[in-house]
């Protein structure tokens, strides 16, 4: 009597097992392979030019062996995590504020019908205009409505961006609902892009920057010292302007006068500048900013304007030689040099009392541009690399001890068949890591716990099968028949039991966050691979053994 299974099936099982072992292999040599992979991408970025260290790192791992690795989650590698909420309504307020001059002009054109108009105080994002002549209300509304443009979005087709209503003597203008949605999307995309550029500029490994829900952004940067540092990199608005200096004072209560502001100096103590509100050129017209050094060798930032910025800057400097002008960053005057000569060509240099690091960061911030809206930080986490390493070590110990103990237990309970199950268990572990590496999955501490749990639960399918085989042997079936029926009969219980666990993993994945999601992924993968190894792999091993030894009777 033989246990038969088709050749293609046996080949497929062998191929999958081989793939699993090969795919899991790089994770056994994590640091080596990581150095190799880093070198590969660095050389690629440098267009094929390699430093000796990179060549050495490259040689650490042969290129014909798979080199995909499991990503380590923040709780294992250490790093910074931030959950930011973007104040999308800030943008509504800016839009509405910038609308006021247009509204005023539009109403001025119909002045004979509406009379005098005046802007009334209101909550941010809402423009209230009182109209002198109540009879001209309809004309006023029509004039304001003419300013509206159709919303540019997929869902808001045919709708205008402004919502104009009246309340007594007042016209109330605000953004329409579809326009708000469209604005939110733009704000979020812009914020994501700017954060991405700022974080990338610092050059850390594989940061995660993604939108969560409608107005949130999750930022995870492995290897960064702290969440505060990450906030400093992304959180600063970096609004840069060049303004006319009206005066310099040491009196913090000085009256700057209309359309001027009193701004503190960032490096001179108790010095205040009175600067004009209207900037000469603003940071949006910068095309480049680089850390550099001034003629005295002190750290500085050199910058370059675009064409219109260069023209404005050139005109202003040629008309104001001998006058100071202020470089204002985030409402602080970082320096107020005197214009020595007309600066044509749009390049310049900002000096101040910077450290090299500060000048580098400032250059990054200037290049990336300003964030469109303010951000609130809802969640901040910093995990030190030592704690992460401790967790990896402890997880490894727990997994190895768990695995050895379960294997011994299986051997004691089922003898040779227990050994078969243990081989399947080892292949199962390899497959989990291979799949995780292949899909670029992230391993977290709960994820390790998920794998350890899988060790315990993976043998369940084998237990079900073996118990069933025992029962069938008891009712005098032939050995081969008992094995076959054991596998068949146990199938329904195994499928039902694993699908319910899979439901749990799916819910965890869709509702969970961060490390919990990592747990869901390993649990889910573990269920699928364990069913494969416990059913197909053990059956394969048993059939090879059975056909080779041809036992008259078996003890399970």
């Amino acid at each position: 009597m033989m246990l038969y299974s088709p050749l293609w099936k046996r080949l497929l099982i062998l191929a999958l097992c081989a793939w699993g072992i090969l795919g899991a292999l790089p994770n056994m040599f994590y640091t080596k392979v990581e150095a190799h992979n880093d070198a590969v991408s660095a050389i690629e970025a440098a267009a094929g030019v390699a430093t000796p260290e990179q060549t050495a790192a490259l040689a650490e791992w042969p290129s014909y062996v798979p080199s995909a690795l499991v990503n380590l989650g923040l709780d294992l590698r250490g790093g910074a995590h931030l959950l930011a909420e973007v104040q999308v309504s800030d943008v509504y307020a800016q839009r509405i504020d910038s609308l006021w001059p247009d509204v005023r002009d539009a109403l001025r054109d119909v002045r004979d019908q509406v009379g005098a108009v005046r802007r009334m105080p209101s909550v941010p994002g809402v423009l209230r205009v009182s109209v002198g002549n109540a009879d001209g209300m309809a004309a006023a509304v029509a004039a304001v409505q003419a300013l509206a443009t159709p919303v540019v979005s997929l869902t808001g087709v045919g709708q205008n961006d402004l919502e104009v209503t009246t309340e007594g003597q007042e016209i109330v203008v605000q953004l329409s609902e579809p326009e708000r949605v469209a604005t939110d999307t733009r704000t979020m995309q812009q914020s994501l892009e700017i954060i991405r550029r700022r974080v990338d500029a610092v050059g850390t490994r594989e940061p995660t920057i993604q939108r969560e829900g409608t107005d949130r952004i999750l930022i995870q940067v492995p290897g960064l010292g702290s969440a505060a540092e990450l906030k400093a990199i992304i959180g600063t608005t970096a609004k840069l302007t060049f303004n006319t200096v009206i005066g310099r004072t040491t009196n913090p209560a000085a009256d700057p006068g209309a359309r001027n502001s009193l701004l503190a100096s960032s490096d001179e103590k108790d010095v205040y500048y009175i600067v004009a509100d209207e900037p000469v050129v603003s940071g949006e017209e910068l095309t480049d900013a680089q850390p550099s050094f001034d003629q005295n060798g002190r750290p500085a930032v050199s910058f370059k304007f675009n064409v219109s910025g260069a023209r404005k800057f050139g005109e202003y400097t040629s008309a104001n030689i001998g006058q100071p002008f202020a470089i204002v960053l985030d409402d602080k005057v970082i320096s107020a040099p005197t214009i020595q000569s007309a600066i044509q060509g749009g390049s310049g240099i900002i000096t101040g009392s910077f450290t090299t690091e500060e000048s580098t960061n400032l250059a990054v911030l200037l290049r990336a541009g300003a964030l469109p809206a303010k951000m609130n930080f809802l969640e901040e986490r910093t995990i030190g690399p030592e704690l992460g390493q401790d967790s990896i070590d402890a997880g490894k110990t727990a997994a190895i001890i768990g695995m050895v103990a379960v294997s011994l237990f299986m051997f004691a309970s089922y003898g040779l068949f227990g050994l078969f199950a243990n081989v399947a268990l080892v292949i199962n572990m390899a497959l989990i890591f291979a799949v995780l590496s292949a899909i670029g999955g992230t391993l977290t501490l709960p994820g390790i716990a998920g794998i350890v749990l899988t060790i315990g639960m993976a043998v369940d399918a084998n237990v079900l099968v073996y118990e069933r085989i025992r029962e069938e042997l008891r009712i005098h079936k032939t050995t081969a028949r008992a094995i076959e029926i054991g596998y068949e009969r146990a199938m329904s219980a195994i499928v039902d039991a694993n699908i319910t666990t899979l439901i749990t993993a799916a819910v965890l994945f869709f509702l969970g966050a961060g490390p919990v999601r990592g747990f869901a992924v390993t649990l889910g993968i573990g269920i699928v691979t364990s069913v494969f190894t416990a059913l197909w792999v053990t059956r394969f091993i048993i059939s090879v053994w059975f056909n080779w030894r041809q036992p008259k009777e078996i003890v399970v």
């Binding site: 709960p446 694993n498 666990t501």
Partner: protein
């Protein structure tokens, strides 16, 4: 015959309903007790659910909770909870403490300045101190996490219930899910009783318990389904006993292997994950118990329609149950 480790004799004939008043009644009592502790003591929520800040310190000097507390006195902080952490995996000169701070102003998370002051104060008390992790969760997020956790448990239960209903009968679905909730609530009750920190990973553990425990119950139900077809005239109670007896060896085996693995995680896996491992360990114990003593009792109480006609006009039973030997 070769020697084999046996957790149960080859053939058992226990009457699992015999002490029903004790086992099932005990379960109900335990659940009531769990609710009682949950209601009176409350859960020791971590910052995931309550908002606030935790700092993990690591020092070569021994932890002096009183000294830390004195160092932090006078800072404008809310509640400060300092606990020393012990773990077999720590080095001899590794002394770890967890400091949980809720903000003085309950609407706001602890500010960055406040945190810097805390760290400075502790560093001046113990210069060797290192801050290996710090986590701050704002009140807005923590409220949402509570909601999404409850949602997750509900959605999982409903999903499992629907699946079992589809594959078995509705009585099984109800029995199975009630047994699940029994496991989850008693576990939560244990967390309330011992005031173990309850955070997001514990919710993940509870969901895992749902998945594991139903696994056990399904195996019993699967055998019950098979035996109901085989022994059409045997009283339901006897068929149930037979099914549990037949699967007893497997139930114990799987529980033990899972407990071995989870136990190893609990002992050697480090303190960061210990609460999680403990919750799963308890859940596995309770899940095994409830699949033997709770789930089927509920099905028996509701009763099953064992007449020949297939339920709901469906043409046949279930695909896997019909495989012919």
């Amino acid at each position: 015959m070769a020697w084999r480790l046996r957790l149960a004799p080859e053939k058992t004939n226990f009457d699992f309903f015999r002490h029903q008043w004790l086992t099932f009644g005990g379960s109900i009592l335990l659940m009531l007790a769990a609710f009682l502790f949950w209601g009176t003591e409350g859960l020791n929520y971590g910052i995931d659910f309550k908002g606030g800040t935790t700092l993990r310190t690591d020092s070569s000097q021994a932890v002096d909770v009183g000294g830390y507390r004195t160092a932090l006195e006078g800072l404008p902080l809310g509640d400060v909870v300092i606990t020393e952490v012990f773990d077999p995996s720590f080095r001899a000169d590794q002394h770890v403490a967890m400091i949980r701070i809720s903000s003085a102003d309950s609407d706001e998370a602890v500010s960055e300045d406040g945190l810097a002051q805390v760290k400075a104060a502790l560093s001046s008390y113990d210069p060797a101190i290192k801050f290996v992790s710090e986590e701050t969760v704002g009140p807005k997020v923590s409220g949402e996490l509570v909601y999404s956790s409850v949602l997750a448990v509900a959605v999982t239960s409903i999903g499992i219930m629907l699946y079992i209903w589809m594959r078995f009968e509705w009585q099984f679905a109800l029995g199975g899910v009630l047994a699940l909730l029994h496991d989850v609530f008693i576990t939560v009750g244990i967390f309330a009783f011992f005031q173990i920190k309850f955070d997001l990973t514990i919710v993940a553990a509870l969901l895992t318990i749902l998945g594991y425990s139903i696994n056990d119950t399904v195996v019993v139900f699967d055998r019950l389904r098979e035996n109901l077809v085989k022994y059409k005239t045997m009283p339901l109670r006897d068929v149930m006993n037979l099914s549990v007896n037949e699967t007893l060896s497997r139930t114990l085996m799987t529980s033990i292997t899972t407990l071995i693995a989870v136990g190893s995680m609990m002992v050697f896996g480090g303190d960061v994950i210990r609460g999680f491992s403990f919750a799963i360990f308890m859940g596995v114990l309770l899940g095994t118990y409830s699949s033997v003593y709770v789930a089927k009792n509920i099905v028996l109480m509701i009763g099953l329609d064992r007449s020949e006609k297939p339920k709901g006009g469906k043409p046949s039973d279930h695909e896997f149950a019909n495989i012919e030997a």
